[in-house]
């Protein structure tokens, strides 16, 4: 079985994002970029399935500008067999990303597509579900456990009410939640080895994907700030303050 993994580059989760004062975007110049944490988890899961002999090949996919190569090399250093770089200089919205993934799926015929449940920049939480719909295959989102046997995946999902388990026939799309696994660290020799692994480059336009980018972002604003309140000296003062506000 082949596994396709979404490997998106995002602003590192430790960066405190600043909105540009003219409202045209957020400051990304010189900001640290890293793999979307959910995609590291998706990749780790794919690698473990390969190590268990359930998968033979793990392919990481990135959609983005030319300088994505170094990021994809990290995915290869982590252990992916090869990478596909879909190039575009445009911002790509989830429906377009899903349509691009569908084209790759048709060509690569994976048994499983593993994506992150959300990318931590746009927090859209859409791409996996959209791909599953377009592909007319099952989806198992927010996975915290994945077991594969007999052409099926049994997936435990983190839902609001607790842990839901569903069974899906393969091929299918699974999206990772935080507790699926803990991704491995990249070791120096692996970075060297990754240099000789192949990265296929295809232009987004050449895939024949209709742009699904129909949302126009017209303005960026900083969120309303909560102001610092008061410090109380002990439990009794806290209870009195809350009572005074009518909260107790």
């Amino acid at each position: 079985m082949k596994i396709l993994v979404g490997y998106k580059r995002v602003v590192d989760y430790n960066v405190r994002i600043q909105v540009k004062s003219d409202g045209t975007g957020v400051v990304t110049d010189g900001v640290k970029l890293s793999a979307n944490p959910f995609d590291d988890i998706a990749l780790e899961e794919a690698l473990r399935l390969r190590e268990k002999g359930i998968a033979e090949e793990v392919v990481v996919v990135g959609i983005g500008p030319a300088d994505l190569t170094a990021h994809l090399r990290n995915g290869l250093a982590m252990g992916a067999n090869r990478a596909i770089h879909v190039t575009t200089t445009d911002a790509v919205q989830p429906l377009t990303a899903a349509r691009a993934f569908l084209k790759l799926v048709e060509k690569e015929q994976p048994g499983l597509v593993l994506l992150g449940k959300q990318a931590i920049d746009d927090d859209a939480n859409q791409t996996g579900q959209m791909l599953a719909a377009l592909w007319d295959r099952p989806q198992a989102t927010f996975a915290s456990k994945v077991e594969i046997a007999d052409g099926k995946a049994t997936v435990t999902r983190e839902v609001d009410a607790g842990l839901e388990t569903i069974e899906v026939e393969l091929p299918a799309v699974v999206t990772s939640d935080l507790r699926l696994n803990e991704p491995r660290f990249i070791k120096l020799p692996d970075i060297m080895k990754a240099k000789s692994k192949p990265i296929d480059v295809v232009e987004l336009a050449s895939l024949g994907v209709d742009s699904g980018d129909h949302l126009k972002t017209t303005h960026y604003a900083a969120p309303a700030k909560r102001s610092k309140g008061v410090m109380v000296k002990d439990a009794a003062e806290l209870v009195a303050a809350l009572k005074q506000k009518g909260l107790l």
């Binding site: 957020v26 429906l95 049994t154 009410a161 607790g162 949302l215 809350l242």
Partner: protein, 314 residues
């Protein structure tokens, strides 16, 4: 002319309050109609409940055995079919809505607006990105169906009782897939208030130290009639189940009172409580970032302070 279809969320034969919150957002569009779609194996009581929500024009039901559990692959084609008569489809941005709605959008070939915080016009909305550190105004294509999820913490639940909207059964001609099967739900259900709709929430973090120690949080919550929440660190460490996680990747909540105990206040956690009325922080580190946003801060050891609090509460 806008007509909005709101997808009802339910569990164990009861509507989730997220449904009435999504109705509030729909009403804010000032549409000609707000219809609620109930997909279930047994619709009668759910439909009756939905019909009472203020602002609802009609309740549409699809009763099928396949709709017993919320499987996105099964529900999405039915919703997409029902959406034909509507300008907008809204669902709550809960794990239910996040799972099924993008699948509906893709079937309709349209973009989705995730986590609507405010409605500016029928096609213009505000939504958070970067864990709520930026708020964007987005415009959906007016010639397309608007498919959106509603950030429940931004909207009060529409009140219920005065309305009695008509209920109609929908006959949808759609074949449903059999490739996805429900196995079970392991629910952390308790008699405590539900975390997503509670007016008071007491949350514990890594500072609580262990699963056993977390009892002190549960006890305080019970004393206050509050729901219990947790930081990711507390969930990862196994102190409490994952459905108690508050934050960017957990639940986004807006209680009147939120007490963060032994929680440092990482941005991913703060995203989940931005809309809380009053935030109380108890932390032994006076420099903890949580104090930057807390309305009331108390520096000290939680194991000493909580018993004192209980005493002061009487």
């Amino acid at each position: 002319m806008s007509k909005i279809l709101v997808i009802a969320e339910h569990l164990d034969g009861k509507l989730n309050s997220s449904t009435a919150r999504a109705v509030s957002a729909a009403v804010a569009v000032k549409p000609d109609a707000v219809d609620v779609l109930v997909l279930a194996d047994n619709v009668a009581t759910l439909a009756a409940e939905a019909a009472k929500i203020d602002g609802v024009s009609r309740v549409l039901t699809v009763e099928r055995a396949e709709n017993a559990h919320p499987l996105a692959a099964v529900l999405a084609p039915q919703i997409a079919k029902a959406a034909a008569d509507y300008s907008h489809v809204f669902a709550p941005s809960t794990t239910f809505g996040k799972d099924v709605t993008p699948r509906v959008a893709a079937l309709l070939g349209v973009a989705q607006v995730s986590d609507v915080m405010s409605v500016e016009s029928a096609h213009t909305f505000k939504r958070p990105i970067y864990a709520g550190n930026a708020i964007v105004t987005v415009e959906a294509e007016p010639s397309h169906t608007v498919v959106a999820t509603v950030r429940t913490a931004s909207w009060p639940a529409a009140s219920a009782g005065a309305n009695s909207a008509p209920v109609e059964a929908l006959a949808l001609d759609v074949t449903l897939p059999s490739h996805t099967r429900y196995v079970g739900l392991q629910s952390g259900k308790s008699d405590r208030p539900d975390l997503q709709s509670a007016s008071k929430v007491v949350s514990g973090g890594r500072g609580v130290g262990s699963k056993e120690n977390f009892d002190i949080i549960f006890k305080l919550a019970d004393k206050l009639g509050a729901a219990v929440g947790a930081s990711r660190a507390a969930v990862d460490a196994g102190y409490v189940p994952s459905d108690l996680q508050v934050g960017q990747t957990g639940k986004i909540i807006a209680p009147e009172l939120y007490m963060a105990i032994g929680i440092s206040g990482a941005i991913q956690h703060l995203t989940g409580i931005k809309d809380a009325g009053t935030i109380v922080a108890i932390n032994k580190d006076g420099e903890a970032p949580i104090f930057e946003i807390a309305d009331f801060g108390l520096v000290g050891d939680l194991f000493k302070i909580i018993p004192e609090l209980e005493q002061a509460l009487g």
